[in-house]
């Protein structure tokens, strides 16, 4: 995870989310939790996915809707958490 940048992270996160929710097009800033598109398992699936795919640990302090509310928010969280701060 040391060489991956925000753009790459966003691409991977977008791929996971697009595969997980039933919508044809989703903007990177669309609030997933307000969209009504997600099921009860989505939150833990997304958390588990970013942990396993990017080798980071999502702890109790990271539990915030702000960190996972959209593709952009999730990608930004992952890059922050993994120590990458690519603009």
């Amino acid at each position: 995870m040391t060489t991956i940048d925000l753009k790459q992270v966003k691409e991977i996160v977008r791929g996971f989310i697009n595969n997980s929710i039933n919508i044809d097009t989703l903007s990177d800033d669309e609030n997933l939790f307000e969209s009504g598109l997600i099921n009860s398992l989505f939150a833990i699936q997304l958390t588990t996915f970013v942990e396993r795919r990017f080798g980071i640990e999502v702890g109790m302090d990271d539990l915030s809707i702000e960190n996972f509310k959209s593709i952009n928010a999730t990608a930004a969280f992952v890059t922050r958490k993994s120590g990458n701060h690519t603009p």
Binding site: F16, N18, N19, S20, I21, N22, I23, D24, N39, S40, L41, A43, I44, Q45, T47, T48, F49, R52, R53, M60, L63, I65
Partner: protein, 399 residues
């Protein structure tokens, strides 16, 4: 399944089967009738280290992979699904604490749970909230004294509730779902045994009442707002894997009892197993057993390999295996005829227990809803892929 296991897993499976045959199988009927598992049997489970099967060694557990954990549940489930229920709930509360507990909570609660010095229970279901858990009514009120909470509410159908030393209780704090650890001896906790269940009778189910139970801040697990989205699903995931594998054991029990009977019992000078109608039942049972085995192995393997579809795989395993166990138990009784309807045969107990497997850790219908939505979503993915790979129309040539 042996071909899918590594050497270590095969050895452990053999050990689990020997344990079940020596310490569970001979007593399961007796425990069922008494609606209780004796302390001595729980102690054997503890001494064998099976209550910390899925917990890392640094927290007092055995640190086994999930396939090995599944094999444990299968071997125990072959003899008694109610007894396996202790392992199920212990793994659920342990997994939730391992993932979302603080380091202090892991030291204080997880280590004794993994060692089997404490027995836990997962207090989620309520009299008015089962599948629709979002509507749970247990209320947490902020305590002015120490930043903890005051718990008021009721939980029902809680496996090991009669025996547990500590409960992981789910409720709402200002409408936000929250979980907390409530020791059994807390003032205001009432435990009422639930008896006369269809099956799973020895699993010690209870109804719990919490009346102004004071819980310190140190016992709050996770953050308010995330108990149902993050804390409970981690526990339920292990519960689903455990139940699927336990149901697999029950299915194997039905199969083995049926073939043994059909191969030896004679009717009118002919072996029961030579009758075409019986062969149909056995063929389905044996094939279901193989399919269920592969789905359970797949689910355990997915968790071991941290596959992104680990939740779906566990749903599939639990869904298929519990339904197959119900069919197999019904057919096992049918094959035995009258003797299958009597408690002197284990298939009568399997028959009652199998139905419970279809209800606990999510009903068959909840599984169908979740799985079907996932499968239907596949259509969106396919259409997207089709569009992406479709040849683009040629642009007219500009002169």
């Amino acid at each position: 399944m042996n071909g899918l296991l590594n050497e270590k897993q095969r050895e452990k499976y053999l050990e689990f089967q020997e344990f079940a045959m020596a310490h569970v199988e001979p007593f399961a009927g007796q425990w069922d009738r008494a609606e209780q598992i004796p302390e001595s049997a729980v102690a054997q489970l503890r001494d064998a280290g099976y209550l910390g099967a899925n917990v890392p060694t640094e927290y007092g557990g055995r640190g086994w992979d999930v396939v090995t954990f599944g094999l444990l549940n299968e071997a125990l489930g072959r003899s008694d699904s109610a007894f396996t229920g202790i392992v199920t709930v212990q793994s659920m509360i342990s997994a939730a604490l391992l993932k979302w507990g603080t380091e202090e909570q892991r030291k204080k609660w997880l280590i004794p749970l993994a060692r089997g010095d404490l027995i836990g229970a997962f207090a989620l279901t309520e009299p008015g909230a089962g599948s629709d858990i979002q509507s749970m009514a247990t209320e947490f009120r902020r305590s002015e004294r120490d930043g903890g909470v005051i718990v008021n509410g009721e939980k029902k159908w809680i496996t090991c509730g009669q025996r547990a030393d500590v409960f992981l209780v789910f409720g709402k704090l200002e409408q936000k779902p929250l979980a907390c650890l409530v020791p059994r001896e807390s003032v205001g906790v009432e435990i009422e045994p639930i008896r006369d269940l269809l099956g799973f009778r020895a699993a010690g189910l209870a109804q719990l009442r919490f009346r102004d139970v004071a819980v310190p801040a140190a016992n709050l697990v996770g953050k308010a707002g995330f108990a149902l989205s993050h804390v409970a699903p981690v526990g339920l995931h292990y519960g689903r894997i455990s139940t699927a594998c336990s149901a697999l054991g029950l299915l194997r029990g039905c199969f083995e009892e049926s073939i043994d009977y059909a191969a030896t019992r004679k009717v009118g000078g002919q072996r029961v197993g030579d009758l075409g109608m019986i062969q149909s039942l056995i063929a389905r049972m044996g094939t279901d057993l193989e399919a269920a085995m592969l789905l359970c192995w797949n689910a355990c393997q997915a968790e071991d390999r941290q596959h992104e579809e680990t939740f779906t795989k566990a749903f599939q395993a639990k869904y298929f295996t519990s339904r197959a166990a119900v069919h197999a138990a019904s057919d096992a009784v049918q094959i035995r005829g009258a003797s299958g309807c009597h408690e002197s045969s284990p298939v009568a107990r399997y028959y009652r227990g199998a139905k419970v497997m279809e209800i606990i850790e999510g009903t068959t219908q909840v599984h169908e809803m979740i799985l079907a939505r996932g499968f239907l979503h596949e259509a969106v993915r396919r259409q997207r892929l089709k569009r992406a790979t479709a040849p683009q129309p040629l642009k007219p040539v500009q002169n």
